[in-house]
């Protein structure tokens, strides 16, 4: 089966109903996408499929094969996506395990809704669990990225 991951077409040899999570991790060695529950309950395995945040444990390889998949490894070329920068600014991670999923969920949210309100951020990000309790910093980092984005857009408008 063919998968387009981070802009590259990859071949995987598996049953079509294998969850995308395991294909990414075990077959394509893309291990930034994490297993947390296998039931779509925790968000650790969040990736983008055609720009939408999806729980990769709930998407089969067959379903994903026609689309464009982005994983944390492909979010930015140099680790400098505005959200990665904001995560750095707020020292968000503790153990770090859930953070790729958090960043992928937040980046899909801001792509679709750059001005997401506090309540919208809390509502969307409540799909992603963090046992270390980094939620206040995740929220603050998303707000920071919004301000940065807004400032960049304003500067571009003025230019």
């Amino acid at each position: 089966m063919k998968l387009t991951v981070n802009g590259t077409q990859r071949e995987v040899d598996c049953e079509p109903d294998m969850p995308l999570l395991w294909a990414l991790r075990d077959l394509l060695q893309l291990r930034g996408t994490k297993y947390g529950c296998g039931k779509g309950l925790c968000g650790a395995c969040t990736v983008h499929l055609d720009g939408q945040a999806r729980r990769s444990c709930q998407v089969t390889v067959a379903d994903a094969s026609g689309g464009a998949i982005t994983t944390i490894e492909g979010l930015s070329a140099d680790g400098q996506h505005p959200l990665q920068q904001a995560w750095r600014e707020h020292n968000v991670p503790q153990c770090g395990y859930c953070q790729p999923g958090q960043i992928m969920a937040a980046s899909a949210l801001l792509a679709a809704n750059p001005g997401a309100s506090d309540d919208e951020i809390r509502s969307t990000m409540s799909g992603n669990l963090c046992r270390c309790g980094t939620y206040p910093r995740i929220h603050a980092a998303i707000k920071s990225a919004q301000y940065t984005n807004a400032a960049v857009e304003k500067a571009e408008d003025e230019a």
């Binding site: 598996c14 049953e15 294998m18 969850p19 395991w22 991790r25 075990d26 077959l27 060695q29 893309l30 291990r31 930034g32 996408t33 994490k34 297993y35 947390g36 529950c37 296998g38 039931k39 309950l41 925790c42 650790a44 994983t71 944390i72 490894e73 680790g79 990665q84 995560w87 750095r88 020292n91 991670p93 503790q94 153990c95 770090g96 395990y97 859930c98 953070q99 790729p100 960043i103 506090d118 809390r122 509502s123 990000m125 409540s126 799909g127 992603n128 669990l129 963090c130 046992r131 270390c132 309790g133 980094t134 939620y135 206040p136 910093r137 995740i138 929220h139």
Partner: protein, 748 residues
């Protein structure tokens, strides 16, 4: 009973590595020679067991404790770098393998900094001394005239040599005498007390950080294991043909468990070995299995807790601490208050489940694991395979959370046994369901309190009785009474200046594997104690914070002398780490100044307070809640911590935020129940952990400035949270909830 307890305590310490203290230095700083193979990632000239320096100037510092989110892989090396005058930008942190030369590597008990602050300084000072001596020898000047500063040694005539240039020569010098090491003045600290970003930050944000589940070896198989649903069940029948016929499945292997104490031994199970995780999971679903009954296969958590509650209410237990005459004081009471509290079993549910990878080859074994306790892992694997410990190498990955679960190396033993059978590397991946159903569960408890108030509202008697299955039972099933170490966690160690006090225990035989979870018995006991103080305050018509301070009495150092209780003080002496009530009162007063505790609030809102001394630190928490139409919302949480000197303030704030959210999570939602011996929860839908929406938008943390020895940070923020929230619920609604989780009584 006492003899039994002592024996099992010794065995417990031996098995768990829960001994006090860090690495004890002899007359000389330990040289690198004792560690052949341990510094295999280090490429520089080794100056001692923690430090090597490359010719290009990169200083390699060993992190010997496990990183599970506290920032310890940054915090300890940051102390070494400071003391040796290394430039942090040119430091590379290397994770130690399991090796007793490092002292305890059991990353548990909030004691990494407490036990190793001084050792890290000594290692840094020793490395600096060698570099300074090497420079002095090069220049032919006295070493006393050479001073290292920011990665360079400066001589008396203005000469300079970089650390990299000196490394090879320094490594040939004899190890310095520990007694003569010159330590930096604290005023000259460059990194200690600074919020350096964690060394793994960039890797974590790029998805490149390697956790236990991310290890991948050539030719490796993945294993998923179906385990006995109840403690000590055995495989009665197994049909594996359907599993073996599935694509990707390579083998089905039974893992028998011996009778006796659960210890760190795997639970009996059947493993499906496959080429990938999906095949292993599908193969496992196709197994047909029956399990034999055991002494625990009828365990019902509800009935068990009912029984414990009846026991603590029924009458006197074994006296564990006593002063004055409680019975007489209760009879004389102007007002008597009594209450019984219950707390449930809990599961750890770290985001990364237990995962271990093993490669067993002729007479040796290599393990890669997200373990909190590399040395116990090495020992357990060696015993399981019949190997000498020297034949087992344990590599420590990052841990996607630990919270005490990953102190138990049963999952590494599973991987080792399976690799031995398969003749290939094997990675055992616990599913979330495995993690929740087969945890080393946090003990449930029942606690009964009676308090006497006199006409002035002063407490004249404090009677507290508990029953909770002891952790010791996991290592010796005959243990039924909580240990002094367990009771030293808030219950028997209450610091209250009441004239009459009695603490009692009832036995509680264990029916599941009991383990330790972030802050351990402080969770149930701080809930009981913190709730009951609040009930007394209200009965006395007093402000709860003022009442707490009154109960603490005059500032003093507790010694528990003459009260029949051997306070454990978390394994440290009261001389080194006094239990000073002034510091507990200090965090309470500071918190009271920082929150609008007495503000008038709309109906349905209220503030609640609690405090606890745990892991040699003091923490006070105030929570503001709203209760409306049976719906509880936590609006604010404020915490003040006194943990002595802090190394990395930002990481301490992060632990406070996280520890308080952990406490909130268990207070709102945390409950594991058992019926017919089986855990009734299996994943995040029925064992919910706090989500962003449940966490208050306002969480404020404050660290008390202190130059006292570092005490503990990872766990102390958790215990006061549940009672503070329950007390706030009472203030907001008049509803006194004496049972966790609060979600059983209110929508959360």
């Amino acid at each position: 009973m006492n003899t039994l307890r002592k024996v099992s305590r010794r065995r417990f310490l031996q098995l768990t590595g829960f001994t006090a203290g860090g690495l004890v230095l002899g007359a000389r700083v330990p040289g690198p020679g004792a560690l052949a193979g341990v510094l295999d990632e280090a490429t520089g000239s080794a100056l001692n067991i923690f430090v090597s320096v490359r010719a290009d100037g990169i200083v390699e510092i060993v992190a010997h404790r496990s990183e599970m989110g506290t920032g310890i892989r940054t915090g300890l090396p940051q102390i070494v770098a400071d003391e040796m005058e290394a430039d942090w930008q040119r430091v590379k942190v290397i994770q130690a393998q399991a090796n007793p030369a490092y002292g305890s590597q059991n990353t548990d008990g909030s004691r990494s900094v407490r036990d190793f602050y001084l050792v890290m300084r000594q290692m840094g000072a020793a490395a600096r001394t060698l570099l300074e001596t090497a420079a002095a020898d090069t220049w032919g000047v006295p070493a006393a005239q050479c001073r290292a500063r920011e990665h360079v040694v400066h001589g008396p005539g203005g000469q300079t040599l970089g650390f990299g240039e000196l490394a090879a020569r320094a490594a040939k010098l004899p190890m310095p005498d520990t007694a003569t090491l010159r330590m930096k003045a604290e005023a000259d600290f460059r990194y200690v007390g600074q919020s350096l970003p964690i060394v793994d930050l960039d890797a974590m944000l790029a998805g490149e950080a390697v956790y236990g589940i991310d290890v991948q070896l050539p030719d490796m198989l993945y294993a998923s294991i179906e385990r006995s649903p109840w403690l000590q069940g055995k495989i009665e029948s197994l049909e594996s043909d359907a599993a073996l016929a599935m694509a990707g499945v390579v083998d089905v292997v039974t893992l028998e468990a011996a009778d006796g104490a659960p210890g760190f031994n795997p639970i009996e199970g059947v493993a499906v070995l496959a080429e990938n995780n999906w095949s292993a999971l599908r193969g496992r679903d196709a197994l047909k299995l029956r399990w034999s009954a055991s002494a625990h296969s009828e365990h019902s958590a509800t009935q068990y807790l009912d029984g414990l509650a009846a026991l603590v209410e029924s009458g006197p237990g074994e006296v564990r601490r006593e002063r004055g005459d409680v019975s007489a004081a209760l009879e004389r009471a102007e007002q008597m208050v009594r209450a019984t509290y219950r707390t449930p079993y809990l599961a750890h549910a770290s985001m990364e489940p237990p995962v271990a990878t093993a490669r067993v080859a002729a007479g040796s074994c290599e393990i890669w694991a997200c373990t909190q306790t590399p040395q116990a892992t090495r020992k357990a694997v060696a015993e399981a395979l019949g190997l000498d410990v020297d034949a087992v190498v344990v590599h420590v990955t990052l841990l996607g959370g630990g919270f005490g679960r990953k102190s138990k190396p049963d999952f590494a033993v599973e991987a080792a046994r399976l690799s031995s059978r398969a003749g290939r590397p094997v990675q055992v991946v616990w599913s979330r369901e495995d993690d929740i159903r087969h945890d080393y569960f946090h003990a449930c408890s029942a606690q009964h309190f009676q308090g006497a108030l006199d006409a002035q509202g002063q407490v004249t008697a404090w009677l507290a009785r508990e029953a909770a299955p002891p952790i010791g039972a996991t290592f010796d099933p005959s243990v039924q009474m909580n240990s002094e170490g367990g009771l030293s966690q808030t219950f028997a160690s209450v610091p209250f200046a009441v004239p009459n006090l009695r603490i009692e225990s009832h036995p509680a035989p264990a029916h599941v594997r009991i383990g330790w979870l972030r802050s351990v018995y402080n969770i149930p006991y701080a809930f009981g104690v913190g709730s009951f103080v609040d009930e007394l305050a209200h009965a006395a018509g007093r402000d709860p914070i003022a009442f707490w301070l009154d109960l603490l009495g005059e500032d003093r150092r507790l010694d528990f002398a003459g009260e029949g209780f051997n306070y454990s003080n978390y394994g440290r002496s009261l001389e080194d780490f006094p239990y000073d009530t002034a510091r507990l009162a200090g965090v309470i007063r500071t918190l009271a100044e920082r929150v609008p505790w007495k503000q008038s609030l709309p109906a349905g809102q209220g503030w609640g307070f609690s405090a606890a001394n745990s892991f040699l630190s003091n923490m006070a928490v105030a929570s503001k809640v709203e209760v409306r139409d049976g719906q509880l919302r936590v609006l604010e949480m404020h915490g003040v911590l006194d943990a002595g000197r802090v190394i990395n303030p930002d990481r301490v704030h992060a632990q406070m935020e996280g520890g308080m959210i952990f406490g909130l999570s268990l207070a709102l939602n945390g409950e594991i129940t058992f019926e017919r011996g089986e855990a009734q929860q299996s994943n995040f839908h029925d064992y919910p952990i706090a989500r962003m929406q449940q966490v208050p938008p306002v969480i404020k943390t404050h660290i008390m400035p202190s130059a006292a020895p570092p005490s503990g940070v990872g766990e102390p923020p958790t215990p006061p949270v549940a009672p503070s929230v329950a007390n706030a619920v009472f203030a907001a609604s008049g509803q006194r909830i004496r049972e966790l989780p609060l979600g059983k009584h209110l929508d959360v």
